[in-house]
Amino acid sequence: MTATRQVEVLLRDLAPQVLGAVVRRYGGFDTCEDAVQEALVAAAVQWPTEGVPDNPKGWLITVASRRRIELWRRDAARQRREETVAALAQPAPVPPPGVDDTLTLLMLCCHPSLTQASQVALTLRAVGGLSTAEIARAYLVPEATVAQRISRAKQRIKTSGAEFTMPPEADRSDRMAAVLRVLYLIFNEGYTASSGEALHRVELTSEAIRLTRQLLARLPEDGEVAGLLALMLLTDARRPARTRPDGGLVPLAEQDREQWDAGAIAEGIALITRALASAPIGPYQLQAAIAAVHAEAAHAEDTDWWQILGLYELLHNIAPGPMVALNRIIAIAMVHGPREGLDRLAAAETDPALAGHHRVHAVRAHLLDMAGDREAARATYRLAARRTLSVPEQRYLESRAAQLPPPDRPRPGTDPDAGG
């Protein structure tokens, strides 16, 4: 590991602890967050060349505190407003023993007054210690957009009156769901990027895994946190096998399973096995359990589809959604045959949540292909390729269509559009 990389890892671990300490001392989450960010930038520049100080956390707290006071003086001089002084006079309450700043920070960053994009950006910066520029690169948006998102998010938190404390007991489960959703989104953003700028985005998956590990260390008995971490590990384990050298996608059934990361799979299976045995069931645990069934099959044809179907039935009951509905239909087709899947798809399509969903065409094409109806499959793959919003998926669907032979040319005198 290079010195720069070592410093980066250290800084990201320390970021939430330093921010917690500075907020407790001075109050004002928004200004403190800016101050800590500047301290992190200073450290990232100085430490790799000048060496890491003996007490890196203390160094960061000192530099951030100094900066916090400068920022306050500047604001105060500009505004001379009573409320600024009043705000400064009220530092966050001293934590009760055993309460962890990282958890408090995560809950604050996922405040319900924020849009999901803002929750994501703020979490990556305040808890993950990433810079605005790094977040912008990962999400392929301009730095100014991310900067606006973060500063606006902090303003909203301020005006909503939220404080740097754990939310009241009654709000905690909702807030926890928001935190898990944000971590899941960060992971997905990194994982689903399969080509092009992917290099920058792989970091998002490791960042999501790191933050989820931190969360699990604080809440070891929470089955959904364990389930989410297991889901991430089991999914990420397939990464080496899911893209071709040219960036094209390899579907699960065709992946070379030798390339899967056995260490990540073992850890994921251990986590989900323990969670399922001890905690109330939830959607992340079920998704992890499905990923574990895939991981346990040495070859695609060994997959226990009965078990996967059972898990999708449960998931469909507790957390219905278009993707769950479609995946359940695929499982039905794997167990009961493609014709049964196509019938279910036709029935499910009348559901407004699914009607017009672009993945419906991709699933239908796949089932028609399985059923041996090559002509219809080919046309439907083409239709699905036109309706997708993703470049790699488009290329994949086009290539599936191209693998099926074109329909015979219509005989002279027949109109291909007539009848039917």
């Binding site: 849009t115 999901q116 994009a117 803002s118 950006a121 392929l140 948006v141 301009p142 957009t145 991310v146 606006q148 998102r149 973060i150 606006r152 998010a153 997905n188 953003e189 689903t192 990027a193 399969s194 080509s195 092009g196 700028e197 992917a198 999914t235 397939r238 899911r242 996608l249 579907p251 699960l252 993707m323 993945r359 991709a362 997708t388 919003l389 993703s390 470049v391 790699p392 998926e393 488009q394 994949y396």
Partner: protein, 123 residues
């Protein structure tokens, strides 16, 4: 998700614009300014630009490795791109809400297109 909001002009919209008083134009500019402020404040704005007059446009054709240009398209063409917003927001519905605030939407001259991205779901 990223969305491109395309704003077109046509002979009718240009005629209406030319017939507006200064005060009426100010109202139009203010709608744009308010939309821009809101998109920046919410962090959804990526970029917005208004395009110069279509008479300044050049059509580029490469023949045998050489780029040749012709003028146009001309103002009498029926619909011409006049400006755009590239935004990032949570859904098509949200993008449509923003697009509806563009004054040209009252003339049916605003279009929202989803942008392809590099993501891919597990298959």
């Amino acid at each position: 998700m990223k969305y491109l909001i395309l704003i077109y002009s046509n002979p009718m919209s240009r005629e209406i614009w030319e017939g507006l008083s200064d005060d009426q134009r100010t109202v139009g500019f203010k709608s744009y300014a308010a939309l821009n402020d809101d998109l920046r404040a919410s962090g959804e704005m990526i970029v917005t630009e208004a395009l110069a007059d279509p008479s300044l446009a050049k059509r580029v054709t490469v023949r045998e490795g050489r780029a040749m240009t012709t003028d146009g398209p001309y103002a009498e063409a029926k619909e011409l791109l006049a400006g755009f917003y590239l935004i990032e927001c949570e859904s098509m519905e949200r993008a449509i809400e923003h697009a509806a605030r563009v004054p040209e939407a009252q003339l049916g001259l605003v279009e929202v297109r989803p942008v392809l991205d590099l993501s891919a779901l597990e298959m």
